[in-house]
């Protein structure tokens, strides 16, 4: 093995590559030190980036300056094998003792495997909750019902005067604040401005609607108080509260379901039934 003397360009490249690797090592040490001193995310990221960038520069210069790029060719034999090859392989499968010749047994085997495969699907049923009704029915039913009191997000029952004008108050069924399809909102509107009566009725202008957009189920938390409209921040559906929470723009197609309410004997607001329609996004159902 004779070593030829490196050219000047090679020596320069080698020096540059070694320098880049040293920078990389410095970055790695810097990361370790930063970690040890709890120096913060930014410096940790910068040190690691320097470490890897040093590696990258070194390797890139190495590949560009010290080894040839291109200039080689490899044959490509194509993929259709010669007919003789194909015939030989086919003959192996058609040999007298080959299992592929016994169609009857293959059919029985296929039947057994199919049965096993179908049986293996059964445990998937465990992914469904056992004790519930059909999904569509459970989507329609919410914790609201006759006599369920309205509470705010702290769980405090609400009186009619707990809903001031010009704001929306998120309300929940008592005891079920975290249930996904139950959130509703109460607003106080001027009944004389109603173009259409709210589906769930109103108590002197106090109306409760489902908070979930009928398009994709996001809470319609943006309240434009002057116009008495609510807007969904996800896809910008907006609903006119004076017209029975009818959708007036955006991709939602159905009005927000209303919640019928009354004032209970204890002076607190309570529902007299479930929402007037299934809350949230639509699904395959007959209403």
């Amino acid at each position: 093995m004779s070593r030829r003397t490196p050219s000047k360009a090679e020596r320069v490249a080698s020096r540059r590559i070694a320098g880049a690797f040293l920078v990389s090592a410095a970055g790695a040490v810097g990361f370790a030190v930063t970690y040890g001193l709890n120096g913060g995310t930014q410096w940790e990221g910068v040190c690691l980036a320097v470490a890897f960038a040093g590696l990258a520069v070194g390797l890139a210069v190495w590949s560009r300056r010290l080894v040839p790029t291109g200039g080689y060719v490899e044959e490509h034999e194509g993929f259709t094998p010669p007919p003789a090859e194909q015939a030989m392989t086919a003959a192996v499968f058609r040999a007298p003792e080959s299992p592929t010749r016994r169609w009857g047994l293959l059919g029985a085997l296929g039947f057994a495997l199919t049965a096993l495969g179908v049986a293996a699907l059964f445990p998937l049923r465990s992914l469904l909750p056992w004790d519930r009704q059909r999904p569509a029915r459970s989507l329609k039913n919410t914790p609201w019902g006759p006599g369920v009191r309205l509470v705010d997000d702290q769980g405090r029952p609400l009186r009619p005067d707990g809903v001031p004008a010009d704001t929306m108050v998120a309300v929940f069924p008592e005891g079920s604040i975290d249930v996904g399809d139950a959130p509703a909102f109460a607003v106080r509107l001027n009944p004389e401005r109603f173009i259409r009566q709210p589906a769930g009725g109103h108590l002197g202008g106090l109306v409760v609607w489902s908070l979930l957009c009928t398009h994709a189920g996001c809470p319609v938390r943006l309240y434009l108080k002057g116009a008495a409209r609510v807007l969904c921040p996800c896809h910008q559906s907006s609903f006119d509260l004076l017209a029975g929470a009818r959708p007036i723009a955006g991709p939602a197609a159905r009005p927000l379901p209303g919640l019928p309410i009354e004032v209970g004997p204890d002076g607190f607001l309570r529902a007299t039934g479930d929402f007037t329609a299934p809350p949230g996004a639509g699904f395959w159902s007959r209403r």
Partner: protein
């Protein structure tokens, strides 16, 4: 040296040297567009490495947990364990935030690299026979990457991702008949269920990654088996691959790319904040954030949901809600079109030949037009997903912008597709090298129907028997034989990627790579090829630039010393010179 006995021992047991020698000699074409898939691969590796670290700290549970830690606004609050552990991971675990943000950036880069790679494969026709299988595997990996990105984004149980998950749930619920069943099957109940975070977790960290690793291996195995495709050029035929060998050139290059990917991702992860879940707050069914945008690769679906009008109908009284069309139908059609494209194109063109040479995009104006139109469509949808932000920035009414987008998203793709089609046709007919070389006459000509180009025979290979100026030279090298291809006209010399053991084998491989080209035996190895014109010019220029900068720095140095000897504080130009010097000096270093 410990390596040599170890290598010998392995070779004695596994007979590795013949395989290794062939593998190291594998040829990779030298074109940047072949690196896009590798960026995806290296992002994926980064995802696995950072993701494993995250699993050590993330608690995939929706049980209540009180957060105690250094993020004061949430200290002492009760949230889900998933959210609390994510905040703890970000604020109280050292390097946790870096790894988490790098993981998220790597996910964005992963999908972006897949999409770019897919576009390259599409526009150059690399999906044609024999590479349809790898196309199908690639599209499957894209779908899995989207799915895993979404579950990963949803797991921290923050308010923004909770909204995203709720929207996806609504989209799935919109499927006729089975939608509600699918949601219940996936979540184990109504949204938000207690089971959903553990289930997403196991999907995100085990099921999908395992399938992805298997598919990546299959993708690369098929790639090695089928060898690379390549762009047409001198010395390149349907029967060979021209480029660099895996060892040493390509190994160094691809490792450099790996290091670049890591460097960029860690720089982003350290310096650019992403998904600050502590600002969004924990998920609560009655809360929402505004603005609410998903990660970019899901945004096309969100944009479609925003733009699709409020059209619903009933079948026998049963509701088919609006999200069904932009969510389920559009997504399904998109992936169906991707899966079926190789077969649709083969059916339309009747091209059943195997192809190792790629198309230039201009050679297939129809394919280019359709591809550009489709990309424009999805980009328009992504932009539409930010319509509320755009409306605020541009100070225009949101619903006017929405109406505009509804038109643009349908019109722009058609215009872009037609434009791409015409430009491709003009380029192909005029043989202009690039867009700048097109004349107005070329463009006018392109709008008229011309002679049909039979697809697949755009660049028929020259008759192999009489190719002037081409020859194969074979020579012995000790016990071994090598050969090379020479093209006198183009001054091109291509050496066989590996030595073979006999003259017959050399003749055989040369005959496979260049059928019909004359072969002669020469006495010895050829002199190294002269450097290309471009490289010579670059080297000359860089030397000249280095000399010039050296000269400039010397002059400046002398002038600065002169200034030091005779200080002139009153001179504003002189007082400004030290800073100028600081800028110049690094460049002046030889």
């Amino acid at each position: 040296m410990i390596m040599r006995p170890l290598a010998r021992a392995l070779d004695d047991r596994l007979r590795l040297s013949p395989i290794t020698r062939r593998a190291l000699a594998k040829i990779f074409p030298d074109h940047w567009s072949f690196m896009l898939g590798e960026i995806a691969l290296y992002s994926f590796i980064t995802l696995i490495l950072t993701g494993v670290y995250l699993t050590l700290f993330f608690d995939a549970s929706s049980a209540d947990r009180v957060y105690h830690g250094s993020y004061a606004p949430l200290d002492g609050t009760t949230t889900s364990a998933a959210y609390a552990s994510t905040v703890r991971l970000s604020w109280d675990v050292r390097a946790g935030l870096l790894i988490r943000q790098t993981h998220h950036w790597a996910a964005l880069a992963f999908v972006a690299a897949i999409v770019l790679h897919l576009s390259r494969i599409f526009f150059t026709g690399a999906f044609r026979k024999p590479r349809e299988i790898n196309w199908l595997i690639g599209v499957t990996m894209l779908a899995l990457a989207l799915a895993n990105g979404f579950t990963g984004y949803s797991m921290p149980d923050d308010l923004l991702s909770g909204l995203g998950l709720r929207i996806l749930t609504s989209v799935v619920e919109s499927i006729p008949v089975i939608g509600t069943w699918l949601v219940t099957l996936a979540l184990g109940g109504e949204f938000p269920s207690d089971d959903m975070i553990p289930r997403m977790f196991i999907t995100h960290v085990l099921l999908v990654p395992a399938v992805l690793v298997a598919l990546v291996s299959l993708h690369l195995g098929i790639l090695v088996r089928q060898k690379h495709s390549q762009f047409p050029g001198p010395g390149r035929t349907e029967h060979n691959v021209v480029g660099s060998r895996l060892w040493p050139g390509y190994t160094l290059r691809t490792l450099a790319l790996f290091a670049w990917v890591l460097a960029v991702l860690f720089a982003l992860g350290g310096l650019v904040q992403i998904n600050p879940v502590w600002l969004y707050g924990p998920f609560a069914p009655a809360e929402s954030t505004s603005p609410a945008q998903p990660d970019w690769y899901i945004a096309w679906g969100d944009g479609a949901l925003r733009l699709f009008p409020a059209w619903e109908f009933r079948i026998a009284g049963y509701l088919v809600p609006a999200p069904f069309f932009p969510g389920v139908v559009l997504g399904g059609l998109s992936f169906a079109a991707l899966y079926l494209w190789p077969f649709i194109e083969r059916w339309r063109t009747g091209d059943h030949q195997p192809h190792q040479l790629l198309d230039r995009p201009r050679n297939h104006p129809v394919r280019l037009g359709i591809g550009v139109g489709a990309l424009t469509f999805y980009v328009a949808l992504v932009v539409a997903a930010g319509d509320d932000i755009l409306a605020r920035l541009l100070r225009v009414p949101l619903y006017d912008l929405l109406a505009l987008f509804r038109v643009l998203v349908l019109v722009l793709p058609i215009l872009a597709g037609i434009l791409a089609f015409l430009i491709a046709r003009a380029l192909r007919r005029s043989e202009a090298a690039s867009l700048g070389g097109l004349t107005r006459a070329d463009l006018r000509q392109a709008t008229r129907p011309g002679p049909r180009h039979p697809v697949g025979e755009d660049e028929p290979e020259a008759p192999t028997l009489h190719r002037p100026g081409e020859r194969i030279e074979l020579w012995p090298e000790g016990e071994l034989w090598r050969w090379r291809y020479r093209n006198e006209a183009g001054q091109l010399t291509l050496t066989n990627n590996r030595a073979v053991t006999s003259e017959e084998e050399a003749v055989e491989t040369a005959g496979l790579a260049y059928p019909g080209v004359d072969r002669i035996v020469v006495p010895g190895p050829p002199p190294p090829p002269p450097p290309g014109r471009m490289r010579t010019a670059l080297r000359r220029w860089s030397r000249a630039a280095a000399a010039a900068s050296l000269l400039v720095s010397l002059l400046l140095e002398r002038r600065r010393r002169g200034g030091d000897q005779g200080p002139q504080p009153s001179d504003p130009a002189e007082s400004g010179s030290p800073t100028a010097d600081e800028h110049v000096r690094p460049g002046g270093r030889p």
